[in-house]
Subunit: 167 residues, 2 copies
DNA sequence: TTAAACTTTCAAAAAAAAATGAAAGTTAAT
DNA sequence: ATTAACTTTCATTTTTTTTTGAAAGTTTAA
């Protein structure tokens, strides 16, 4: 396989994986592109490489920066902006975990707490609802905390986790 | 909050959470509905409760069964089919992990292995590509293995994990 | 201060994903 | 073997999500 073919395949695959996990394809592709680039890339180059419009590029780069996994860089004597991705994978995974927890898990937990706290003990149906949503709340809360603890190790959290599990 | 309001809120929230993680809304909503139901539910009832068409209900129930988290049940003397969800949360999480690993992670790993194995050491750009995709392959493989190990505990894996991490 | 070089925004268009519903298929009781 | 009761399929429609591109906004150099 040639370099260009491999590069393209990687970008496409990362994009598809993103979609499957609820991240828009272009956003994942831009991230892929920056991940494998050894130097900062301009918006122009991203547009060119992925064949996307300026608006699309701008919005998705912004989204990646909001996630904290892409950084803006300036080159001396250059007017335009360049972008780089967080290349440390431990750090990348930590940031993605934290964001998803904040944006999606925490709000869901809030709702689970609410709905599991209703006064409803009249019917078997209602009792089951409360029991099940309570279990779910406990489970999700615990999972969220575990994730938090794991990613607190920061450097090499994955390796440290492997060690803990194997012992 | 009333029971019906809470039930509705839970179903909507579970549906939204599904979307954010790449699972179609209706599929997640059907799952939510079955999770909180204390007895098997007919397709008719699912359609009625979620206000969806027969085709939509049928296809998404099928998808949930393919995931192994919803089961078909027969009631004595009843012609039509009823459905129940896997209600054990440890088991549910294990099944979802296994499926996502099989469907998404494993194929991605295959591609990562391919693209990181190209003979490309001419330019700095090519060397960086190989280095980065190799790191990514190692990382994803390790993460996938960790997930596998954790879910092998089966019963109470989450609690057991908490214990391991705290020690 | 002007203007050129660049970025962002957002209404409209396009593309992708999901839902519908009627026809085809299946099952099981008589 | 027939038919009523039910489920599945899939071409078409609808909805949702994503993308475009032109106008507005911003920044910096002269």
């Amino acid at each position: 396989m040639q370099f260009n073919e491999a590069k393209n395949k990687f970008v496409q695959t990362w994009g598809a994986l993103g979609s499957q996990w609820g991240i828009n394809k272009t956003m994942a592709q831009i991230h892929a592109l920056l991940m494998i680039s050894n130097e900062p890339v301009s918006m122009e180059d991203i547009m060119e490489e992925l064949q996307i419009s300026r608006g699309n590029a701008s919005m998705n780069i912004r989204a990646l920066m909001d996630w904290g996994i892409v950084y803006k860089e300036y080159k001396a004597g250059e007017r335009r902006e360049f972008f780089t991705a967080e290349k440390d994978l431990d750090e990348l995974a930590v940031k993605i975990s934290r964001e998803r927890s904040k944006r999606e898990i925490k709000p869901a937990l809030k709702v689970l707490k609410e709905v599991s706290s209703i006064e409803a003990n009249q019917t078997e149906e209602e009792r089951h609802f409360v029991a099940q949503t309570t279990k779910l709340y406990d489970f999700v809360l615990k999972a969220d905390n575990v994730l938090d603890k794991i990613t607190e190790y920061k450097d090499n959290w994955l390796t440290k986790l492997v060690v803990k599990i194997m012992k």
